[in-house]
């Protein structure tokens, strides 16, 4: 039986998290030992030898109170700021990070690579490249956790949450569901395989992909009738989706929202919730008509639409993988 104390550090941020942890361990050990030594020491030193004896009248000291209030306060503030910085780094996704889609469902993880390859309970990623996971649940709240990367996020029904990481070591690492989700919660586990970039490309090539997600999405966009309203013409019933992804959108009522994957998904499932300024709330909901895979395909297609296409957008547009 193996006995280890720390998990492997396999991501670019793991070492930083561990550094902060060691500081916390050191600080905690110091204060624990300090208190223990004082408590045991005083208990021994001031043991009652005469049954009638009483303690002294030293029971009050403003300078001491201030000292042991201010010093812990400074320590916790320092710890807070360091932790906030690490947290920001953990959740701030670098630009140009490839997006993988993850769907949690009782009791398995369905993963889709940017180019459409699919895995169940396994996630293969290339060494050294940042990866973003965009995750949703088909049922209850799950949580996607890779201890070796020191990161996790809850996975929710009805919206996307995300984590990112840059693997720094090849190997196979645990993937755990870590939000209790029912009977087989402890079996909703898998592995993340970090591969040399060449091996990863080889693996990608070896897995049959019937069609790229965005291509699939382009067909859906036509089949579901989206193109009837979402056209580039000025008299169209719905706003053009060219260059939409990542842009700020102004809504009826003056609020603004960033058009990320969650916004796109919400607009497809609950279109009346946030209507684009200047348009009527006439879009029907597609709830119940789209599996998670088809939702991903649609979103990937919309993400691929360029702001200023060289010709009028149509269903024959070449799609960027």
């Amino acid at each position: 039986m193996k006995l280890s104390i720390l998990p492997e550090q396999a991501s670019s941020l793991a070492a930083e998290v561990d550094r902060l942890t060691w500081f916390l361990i050191g600080m905690s050990t110091f204060f624990t030992v300090l208190i223990a030594v004082m408590v045991v020491g005083f208990a021994l030193r001031y043991r009652r030898r005469d049954p009638e004896s009483v303690g002294s009248r030293f029971d009050n000291s403003a300078p001491l109170e201030i000292t042991w209030t201010v010093i812990p306060l400074l320590i916790v503030l320092f710890t807070f700021f360091w932790g906030a910085k690490v947290y920001f780094d953990l959740y701030k996704v670098p630009a140009d990070t490839a997006t993988f889609y993850v769907t949690g469902k009782r009791w398995m993880w369905k993963i889709q690579h940017p180019t459409g390859q699919r895995e169940i309970n396994e996630l293969r990623v290339p060494l050294g490249q940042p990866v973003r996971l965009l995750m949703t649940s088909e049922d209850v709240i799950h949580s996607f956790y890779v201890p070796a990367f020191r990161t996790k996020s809850d996975v929710l029904p009805g919206r996307y949450t995300s984590i990112w990481f840059r693997p720094t070591r090849t190997g196979t690492f645990h993937l755990f569901c870590t939000e209790y989700c029912g009977a087989e919660h402890s079996r909703m586990i898998g592995s993340v395989h970090v591969m040399e970039p060449d091996d990863y490309q080889q693996w990608l090539a070896s897995v049959a992909v019937p069609v790229l997600p965005a291509t699939d999405g382009r067909e859906l966009f036509a089949d579901l009738g989206c193109a009837n309203c979402h056209r580039a013409e000025s008299d169209a019933r719905g706003p053009s989706l060219n260059g939409l992804y990542g842009r700020q959108v102004e809504l009826v009522g003056g609020a603004r929202v960033r058009a990320d994957e969650t916004y796109l998904r919400e607009s497809i499932l609950s279109p009346a919730r946030r209507v684009v300024a200047g348009y009527q709330p006439v879009m029907p909901s597609y709830r119940g008509q789209l599996s998670e895979e088809r939702m991903i395909a649609l979103i990937e297609y919309i993400k691929s639409l360029e702001a200023n296409p060289t010709r009028v957008a149509s269903a024959e547009d070449a799609v960027r993988p």
């Binding site: 039986m1 193996k2 006995l3 104390i5 720390l6 998990p7 998290v17 902060l20 942890t21 916390l24 905690s28 624990t32 208190i35 004082m38 408590v39 005083f42 208990a43 001031y46 043991r47 009652r48 005469d50 004896s53 009483v54 303690g55 002294s56 009248r57 030293f58 029971d59 009050n60 001491l64 042991w68 209030t69 812990p72 306060l73 916790v76 807070f80 932790g83 906030a84 690490v86 947290y87 959740y91 009782r106 209850v140 709240i141 949580s143 020191r150 996790k152 996020s153 809850d154 029904p157 009805g158 919206r159 645990h174 870590t178 209790y180 989700c181 029912g182 919660h185 402890s186 079996r187």
Partner: protein, 538 residues
């Protein structure tokens, strides 16, 4: 009406016989005993479920229980220990028994309401217990939606209703104690002459009264969602499952302070008595209880750093969580300073108090790991969290509880417990406790998730250590159960003040008469006066 008319020469135990005189009593001391019986039953039952969990976790495979049974076992353990032991125990037993006597009163402000509180506790707990055992609930004590509202096929509604009813017990007790402290203090008992146990019970009452109604509403919403598919927590209907977490933790975080503040109050009483020295920094310790109660309402989001909550909300909750740690640190330093130049006797209550100081310090410091945004992402929902809260709740709250049981046992029962066995079992508890829960910090950082029925092989050694510790811990709890019951018949009769302690409860006989004091006491000096020298000014 049974309670305060007394036969001459009787005490509260002998004044009135038969089941009716107990079940219809209005005497706060008898109600305290009724709570003692009730919470002890739920502690034992909750402990049995814990043993099932730890037995299963001896091996990596899920080979003792089916997944469903395991999930019901850890849920039952959590629900019983939190709602039907930790929350009611010290307020229900010592708050009831000791607090009125400590302030020189004859009873609490509303004796009938007090009895009603006990019935609400027994009814709610009974309903929940029957449902937990007959149908079972497998959602965890946290009942997260949409699992609990839409997917679980278990007895969520009756258990939720049981907890709902039990909540009113706490609300009424809180109201009762607050009014008692405001209106029934003996002449001369000013606020800053109150024993620190009273301060901590008062702060606890604030939380009970303000926080528990939110739990009530949350449970009602959950029950309605489950029964009528309202959609409050269902994204397909425009609801939000994370809303449940906000509502649930808005109560459940302050609830943990309901569980620890009374214990801290007990520790203050023990440390000052067994050092024969006024508690160091009385004013700071008293105010720190109030600060914890207030700040405790502002930190609930630290349970939700990875829930999809905004990063900025996370930052606010993290810094507030760090701030609430400071008053607890102040208490630990003040208790330690009370020992300095005291006259220290090593009786069992003090051993529990010293154990509390050490274990609560560790538990509180591990809370700093979890309050830390950068580290909590890794640690959330792992065994690190399990280790943290057991250090506080078992190493802290239960040690304080047992210290209080031993300290006030002579007063409550009129008998001394056997000191040798008591010290031995305190030691057994301390060893068993650390062996059970320290490995869980390591397991958590290694990545072992909570609520796992089966786990990867590399986690086995630490799990075996933890389960071994649990069996030692069980022994440490069983021994006092035996000797305390034994002492009721065979223990040495106790004098009024076996510890030489200051405080009004030690001015009454052991056990006290039903009416507590022959004449209302008049308080003329500060609390905890052991030495009659001039106070040193620093």
């Amino acid at each position: 009406m049974s309670g305060h008319e007394s036969e001459p020469g009787t005490n509260y135990l002998t004044n009135g016989h038969g089941l009716r005189s107990w079940l219809l009593t209005l005497d706060h001391k008898r109600i305290g005993i009724l709570y003692l019986l009730g919470v002890s039953f739920y502690f034992l039952l909750g402990g049995i479920f814990a043993m099932l969990v730890r037995l299963e976790l001896l091996t990596p495979a899920g080979d003792l229980l089916t997944p469903d049974s395991y999930n019901r076992a850890f849920t039952a353990h959590g629900v019983m220990m939190i709602f039907f032991f930790l929350l009611p125990a010290i307020p229900g037993i010592f708050g009831n028994f000791v607090l009125p006597i400590m302030i020189g009163a004859r009873d609490v402000a509303f004796p009938r309401l007090n009895l009603l509180s006990w019935y609400l506790f027994m009814t709610g707990a009974g309903l929940a217990m029957v449902s937990l055992i007959a149908g079972g609930v497998d959602t965890g004590w946290t009942f997260y939606t949409p699992y609990s509202s839409t997917f679980a096929t278990t007895a969520v509604i009756p258990v939720g209703l049981g907890i709902f009813i039990n909540g009113f017990s706490g609300i009424l007790t809180g109201v009762n104690f607050m009014v008692t402290v405001h209106r029934m203090r003996a002449p001369g008992m000013t606020w800053f002459r109150l024993p620190l146990f009273v301060w901590s019970q008062y702060a606890t009452a604030l939380i009970q009264v303000l926080g528990t109604p939110v739990l009530a509403i949350t449970l009602v919403l959950l029950v309605l969602e489950r029964a009528f598919n309202l959609g409050v927590f269902d994204p397909a209907k425009g609801g939000d499952p994370v809303l449940f977490q906000h509502l649930f933790w808005f109560y459940s975080h302050p609830a943990v302070y309901i569980m620890i503040l009374p214990s801290m109050g007990v520790i203050s009483e023990l440390v000052t008595c067994f050092s024969r020295k006024k508690i160091f920094g009385y004013g700071f310790v008293a105010m720190s209880s109030v600060a914890i109660a207030v700040l405790g309402f502002l930190v609930w989001g630290h349970h939700m750093f990875v829930s999809g909550q905004s990063v900025y909300a996370g930052m606010v909750f993290s810094i507030l969580s760090y701030l609430v740690a400071v008053p607890s640190a102040i208490k630990v330093f003040n208790w330690t300073a009370t020992l300095y130049r005291g006259s220290i006797a090593y009786q069992t209550p003090l051993l529990y108090a010293l154990g509390f100081i050490g274990l609560f310090t560790i538990g509180g410091l591990t809370g700093l790991f979890l309050a830390n945004l950068g580290v909590d992402v890794h640690l959330h929902d792992t065994y690190f969290v399990v280790g943290h809260f057991h250090y506080i709740m078992v190493g802290g709250a239960i040690m304080g509880y047992l210290g209080g049981i031993h300290f006030w046992w002579p007063k409550i029962s009129g008998r001394m417990y056997p000191e040798g066995w008591a010290r031995f079992s305190a030691l057994v508890l301390f060893v068993g406790f650390n062996l059970t829960f320290f490995p869980q910090f390591v397991l958590g950082y290694l990545g072992m998730p909570r609520r796992y029925h089966a786990y990867p092989e590399e986690f086995q050694v630490l799990n075996v250590l933890s389960s071994a510790g649990a069996s030692i811990l069980a022994v440490g709890y069983i021994i006092p159960l035996i000797y305390l019951i034994w002492s009721m018949r065979y223990g040495k009769p106790a004098p009024a003040n076996p510890w030489g302690a200051a405080g009004l409860e030690w001015q009454t006989p052991s056990p006290p008469p039903s009416y507590n004091f022959e004449q209302t006491p008049v308080v003329t000096e500060e609390p905890y006066v052991y030495s009659h020298e001039e106070a040193e000014v620093v």
